[in-house]
Symmetry: C2
Subunit: 246 residues, 2 copies
DNA sequence: TGCAATGCTTGACCGGGATCAAGGGGCAAT
DNA sequence: ATTGCCCCTTGATCCCGGTCAAGCATTGCA
């Protein structure tokens, strides 16, 4: 039986081997053939409109997702309804790893702009990584890096002052955008002050005031969601001024 | 060639299949034979004296460790020397997962009492989990649960007030001790006020004051490191009194 | 094109928790 | 049993960042 033309087209559209983002979400240094063996990883793609959610906390876990384009936040809701932003995700980053442990997602993933993800059924990820060692290794690294990232945020929240936290946030954002070929110094925030504040453990008013202060100090220029970093070195200095906070 | 008696003895001593903790750190529901196939996981054991470190941040990553007995803290040191406690670990819990992503450890693991760990060379973990599906699945779950745990701490630090955080800490400790067959209501803290404070993002004085306050309120009884929980329901109520903090 | 909704900024004030300081208790080593 | 060190407790004071409030800017929809 020959493959129908439509299936071929779909396959091509979802092929990891053709994806410009692959060095962000897949192991590097593979031969063309090895790469092709990864094309089975992605079953389909899914578009998420701004404001819609990819999955909700409590929902059964079935797949991991790689961001193709767009921007997401992950949120955790506590028993009493408080909402905490636990992360922001952009192209090439992996979503849904929280769900593996308990077979349901613990957090909610919401698109902050129109986005698209590659759907990777988790059973397939596990199957493939049993037979394909580079994938196994890579997958473990991705999981581990998520742990390290979270611990970095713990350090942020646990031992830094508000202005240090916001500076660190901007520096981090700038670095991640650079990796993806965007400008390091000028970008549009996809999230609100409230979401930044939740992520960084401060109120939206504090975020706003600090943006204004950084601007007065000549470190950045802000107009609503538009941010231009003028002196990244200054931000890094703010980040690390050895004092204890909270 | 027969196996020398000493090797046999070592093997017996390190056999997962014989370990009373195995339901805490290995997949459950395995046959005796399947269990035996896991005995290769642990290469050796290692004792760590109180105050000594199992590994340091920056050190090359080679193995994961399962706590056999004892108590550990993990700490992260920032560029400017500030130290953040990122977790406490007890029997049956897995250490070292932070190292997988970058081939070196990012945090330091220090014993808070005389302890022993099982050393599981990571190459062996990956090999075995390629051929033995239940181990693969289990390992992924453990990694994922660490992510979820860290996100829980982020929520703690990002959106709860000091007294809520400390109450949550006590409730969590009590639960983990119960799982391990210890008393849920009476235990000895292995860490100092300073370490608790670092973990929870507050100063040691605040920890001390809150302990005193909880005692006045009849929720607990504290004498130095000795804690007796009198009303766990009260602690849970403190934990969730819907207000915003920090 | 105008209106409503949402998000941002800024000011005034307040309070939780940090900081500074002093003293007390327990444990380990001898 | 004594000594010294580390840890814990408690008080007094201060300040960062939260809270409350008012008004402005931007965006999306009718």
């Amino acid at each position: 039986m020959t493959e129908p033309a439509l299936a071929t087209a779909t396959r091509l559209r979802t092929a990891c081997s053709q994806c410009t983002l692959r060095e962000l979400c897949l192991p590097v240094g593979l031969s063309a053939e090895e790469l092709r063996s990864l094309d089975d990883l992605v079953s389909t793609r899914r578009k998420i409109r701004r404001g819609d959610s990819l999955f909700y906390g409590g929902e059964p876990f079935t797949a991991l997702y790689a961001v193709r384009y767009g921007f997401f936040k992950s949120t955790l809701t506590s028993g009493d309804g408080r909402e905490q932003v636990t992360g922001f995700y952009m192209a090439g980053e992996l979503l849904g790893m929280d769900g593996i442990g308990g077979d349901r997602h613990t957090c909610t993933l919401t698109a902050l702009e129109d986005s698209e993800v590659c759907v990777m059924p988790f059973a397939r990820v596990e199957d493939l990584s049993r037979t394909f060692e580079p994938l196994q290794r890579h997958f473990h690294k991705v999981l581990s890096r998520e742990i390290v990232r979270d611990q970095g945020v713990m350090m942020l929240l646990g031992s830094m002052r508000a202005e240090e936290r916001l500076a660190a946030f901007l520096v981090n954002l700038s670095q991640r955008l650079t990796t993806r070929g965007f400008s390091a110094s000028e970008f549009v925030l996809r999230m609100t002050r409230d979401e930044i504040g939740s992520y960084l453990g401060m109120k939206l008013e504090t975020v706003s005031r600090l943006f204004s202060r950084f601007q007065e100090d000549g470190l950045i220029e802000v107009h609503q969601k538009h941010v231009r970093i003028i002196e990244i070195g200054g931000l890094k200095r703010v980040m690390a001024q050895a004092q204890s906070g909270s």
